[in-house]
């Protein structure tokens, strides 16, 4: 049964593989484009993480619980649009931002209700909101970009504390918080159980429906925070914003070792996945690679990492001892 000659990449901790791959990538970029390895550049990379990274927290929760959410990009766009429509005409900036977050939360809860109550497959129900919410964003915005120039608001996206971008600090704080939730709380543990074996989780007396509702609500809310930060960086609410975000987010989460089949993954890996993808984008820009090749590169990186993950999975399955019957 036991097969020797397990490929080297499968022997060591997957997170270490990612960190090592990241180091190699940085060195290669550094050699070709010397400006890449400067501190300034890494601060720049840091300031671009939150747009993908905060939404990726929500996506990690969703994937671990065995689902998927395709609507995160549309939700992020809706958030900016709602905020820029409310401010300054109808509400002060704080209320406008709050309303925008509420909109994101509601879309997430709507996803959750469709999935848990109507039992619609998550892929389909969030594909529906992916399309519908983007449409709503266009309608609400009057199909145009609207200014969001309040200085305090713009600071959320562009400001820094002691040289560290505020958006990065916010993102890391959220990662730390949700890391603890996923690892040390019953709620987090139940998500792994629901994703790993829905049947066993239900028969253990876990109220799966309520857990999933909360998870999709959180994913909507966190994607909304992502959208808010992005529109603060742009100082505008754009109905076209964050198009393709769902791809970047799912790619980062999967890159970080979270299984699309559910029950497996952690935020630590997701964080590294986000950093790798954003650094890759940055490096390719510095090399003046056309954006089409950037898309190709992203796709290849995703294929390679998921391929390695599949090999590891198959290896683990083979390890299962024969059980007497």
């Amino acid at each position: 049964m036991s097969r020797t000659g397990r490929p080297f990449a499968l022997k060591i901790n997957p997170v270490l593989v990612l960190v090592a791959a990241y180091g190699v990538m940085c060195l290669v970029f550094g050699m070709v484009a010397p400006s890449f390895l400067s501190l300034d550049n890494f601060v720049t990379i840091g300031s671009t993480l939150a747009g993908v990274g905060i939404s990726a927290i929500g996506m990690t929760l969703v994937l671990v619980s065995g689902g998927v959410d395709l609507s995160v990009g549309s939700v992020a766009a809706l958030t900016g649009v709602v905020a820029s429509s409310l401010w300054p005409r109808f509400a002060p900036i704080g209320v406008a931002a709050g309303g925008a977050l509420l909109a994101g939360l509601l879309v997430g809860l709507f996803n959750g209700l469709m999935i848990t109550r109507l039992r619609i497959n998550p892929l389909i129900s969030t594909l529906a909101t992916y399309s519908a919410v983007r449409g709503i964003a266009f309608v609400v915005s009057g199909t145009q970009d609207n200014q969001l120039g309040d200085p305090a608001f713009v600071w959320l996206g562009r400001g820094a504390i002691a040289g560290i971008p505020f958006s990065l600090i916010l993102m890391l704080t959220l990662y730390a918080g949700f890391y603890f939730v996923m690892r040390y709380t019953q709620f987090g543990r139940n998500l792994y159980a629901i994703g790993g074996s829905p049947e066993a989780a239900r028969l253990a007396g876990i109220n799966s429906g309520r857990h999933l509702l909360i998870v999709y609500g959180l994913c909507g809310l966190l994607s909304s925070v992502s959208g808010l930060i992005s529109s603060a960086q742009l100082a505008a609410g754009r109905p076209l914003a964050a198009s393709g975000l769902e791809f970047a987010v799912i790619a980062a989460v999967v890159l970080g070792g979270t299984s699309l089949a559910g029950g497996k993954g952690n935020l630590w890996g997701t964080l590294i996945g986000v950093i790798i993808l954003r650094t890759l984008d940055n490096g390719l820009v510095q090399l003046n690679v056309s954006s089409f090749y950037q898309d190709v590169a992203r796709g290849l990186v995703l294929l390679i990492t998921v391929g390695i993950d599949q090999l590891r999975l198959r290896y683990e399955k083979r390890q299962q001892p024969g059980i007497a019957t």
Binding site: Y184, Q186, R189, L203, N207
Partner: protein, 506 residues
């Protein structure tokens, strides 16, 4: 009677089979005449399935010979069996729900005109096949719209249209609703008229007496004998052959009796009915009591505890916990009422295989282990350690070992530990030792007894007679969704249990 003199259609002579050094068939012989129904009887594990799997080429025999029309044949794989006209019909049905009856019958050989299917001809051919058994079924009907019985009959028709001479039916009526067995029997009688022979495996003695000409009985992998089914033979005679001599059993009745009579029942079920599964079930379990529900496969006994756990919708009846009527519609609510269930399929239903031992043990009950919703690692470890020691859970890498890597018995102990950790009042178990090795089995039995002694009420469903007899304080039998008997530990023996569970008349 003529057939008796002729050479039997099929002879299996001195068949031997071992699995991993354990003999499961020891020189078993049977013969089948042209146009007869031979019943093959025996308890679970007697070797019936192994024997027919050898006949079908699924397994290779280690010794003995198979003869057809008196000539030795080699059956190395199912295709060889099919070529000899041997056809199996299994209890679980495999069919494509979206295909019509005609498509099912003519699968792979639909008549065509050019590249188009010639539906006119296909339906005509299907009708012709159905007419052989005088079955009145619309060939255009989709398989998913047929009843279980009708689907089974389509299987039979398919077998004879494939020129089968021997049809083996393995518990064909297990999933049938009551009263629909007659339909299948009509078809069987028509098969007999056409000189097709049948090996009929069933636990249901009343069926055997209706349809079979002879019965061959196996016990513990050995041939007990073959009897002609005739008026002088009684169901009890056959049961006697199946179970052999009564095995003596140690009992310690007094303390038990005391425990049961004093206590008010924790769980009371009255008139519980789920249409099509079980009817009018009354039962109660007291603290400290282990009640076993025994039934043969397909009797519906497992549905009863699934219904109590909120997994199956009930149509009528009441469930009471400590005298209070409760409405349970989900496992979540059942757990909150203090009811736990150890499901039959632990890998799919019982455990999260990619989580470790500790996480699986605390899956159902966390409140004592958390503060402000966060796990207190030390307490969680301590509790898990306690169950590992107490139940003797063995694993290679400590409590951080993923459940995937535990053996069946140890996995089952983890499920057990989870409900004990959850501190339930009523623990229900469905086939608690399926696929569990002998050592772990006795650990589990000992633990159940110990937990009962501390006041847990245990309700166990099992198709394993030895298990029911050795663990239960009180035994109920179920046949076709109805309670057919109640036995105290002292009264119960293999014979009267099997008799009641097979729906046998007194």
């Amino acid at each position: 009677m003529n057939a008796e003199i002729n050479i039997p259609l099929l002879q299996m002579q001195d068949i031997e089979k071992q699995f991993y050094g354990v003999t499961v068939l020891n020189k078993v012989s049977l013969d089948l005449q042209t146009g007869e129904v031979l019943a093959l009887l025996g308890e679970n594990g007697a070797g019936k399935s192994t024997l027919i799997k050898i006949l079908n080429g699924d397994y290779q025999k280690d010794g003995g010979a198979i003869l057809i029309d008196g000539k030795p044949v080699q059956i190395n794989r199912p295709r060889d069996a099919a070529a000899l006209g041997i056809h199996m019909i299994y209890q679980e049905q495999h069919y494509a729900p979206e295909l019509s009856v005609a498509e099912t019958l003519l699968l792979g050989k639909l008549p065509t005109r050019g590249i188009m299917v010639d539906w006119e001809r296909a339906y005509a051919m299907a009708r012709q096949h159905l007419n052989m058994l005088k079955v009145d079924l619309d060939p255009k009907k989709l398989m998913m719209n047929l009843s279980v019985v009708e689907r089974q009959i389509v299987e039979v028709v398919k077998a004879i249209s494939g020129k089968a001479r021997i049809i083996v039916m393995d518990e064909p009526t297990a999933a049938f609703p009551p009263n629909e067995v007659a339909l299948l029997f009509d078809s069987i009688r028509r098969l007999i008229e056409q000189k097709i022979s049948i090996i009929y495996i069933s636990h249901r003695l009343d069926e055997i007496f209706q349809i079979a000409n002879r019965a061959t009985v196996l016990r513990d992998g050995k041939l007990v004998g073959t009897r002609r089914i005739e008026p002088s033979l009684s169901q009890r005679d056959l049961v006697q052959m199946m179970v052999g001599h009564e095995v003596a059993r140690g009992t310690s009745e007094q303390s038990l009796a005391a425990r049961q009579t004093e206590a008010e029942p924790v769980l009371t079920v009255s008139g519980l009915t789920a249409d099509g599964l079980f009817e009018n079930i009354d039962l109660h379990v007291s603290p400290g009591e282990i009640v076993g529900i025994f039934g043969l496969l397909g009797a519906g006994h497992d549905a009863i505890i699934n219904a109590i756990f909120g997994e199956i919708k009930v149509n009528r009846g009441q469930i009471l916990i400590e005298g209070q009527p409760i409405g349970i519609t989900s496992p979540h609510e059942a757990r909150n009422q203090g009811i736990g269930l150890v499901p039959a399929d632990r890998k799919v239903q019982g455990l999260v295989l990619d989580m470790d031992v500790r996480e699986n043990v605390t899956l159902s009950n966390w409140s004592p282990l958390t503060r402000f919703g966060f796990f207190q690692n030390n307490r969680e470890r301590e509790h898990t350690r306690q169950w590992i020691d107490r139940l003797g859970i063995r694993m290679a890498g400590g409590m951080a070992t993923k459940l995937r890597f535990l053996s069946g018995g140890n996995q089952q102990k983890v499920v057990l530990a989870r409900w004990l950790e959850a501190n339930v009042k009523v623990l229900m178990l469905n086939e608690p030792t399926w696929g569990v090795d002998v050592g772990a089995r006795s650990d589990i039995y000992a633990q159940l007894e110990a937990m009962a002694a501390q006041g847990l009420a245990i309700l166990m469903v099992s198709s394993d007679m030895d298990e029911v007899l050795s663990v239960s304080h009180r035994i109920l039998t179920v046949y076709r969704g109805r309670l057919t008997g109640q036995f105290s530990r002292a009264e119960a023996n293999r014979e009267n249990l099997l008799h009641a569970a097979a729906g046998g008349a007194e």
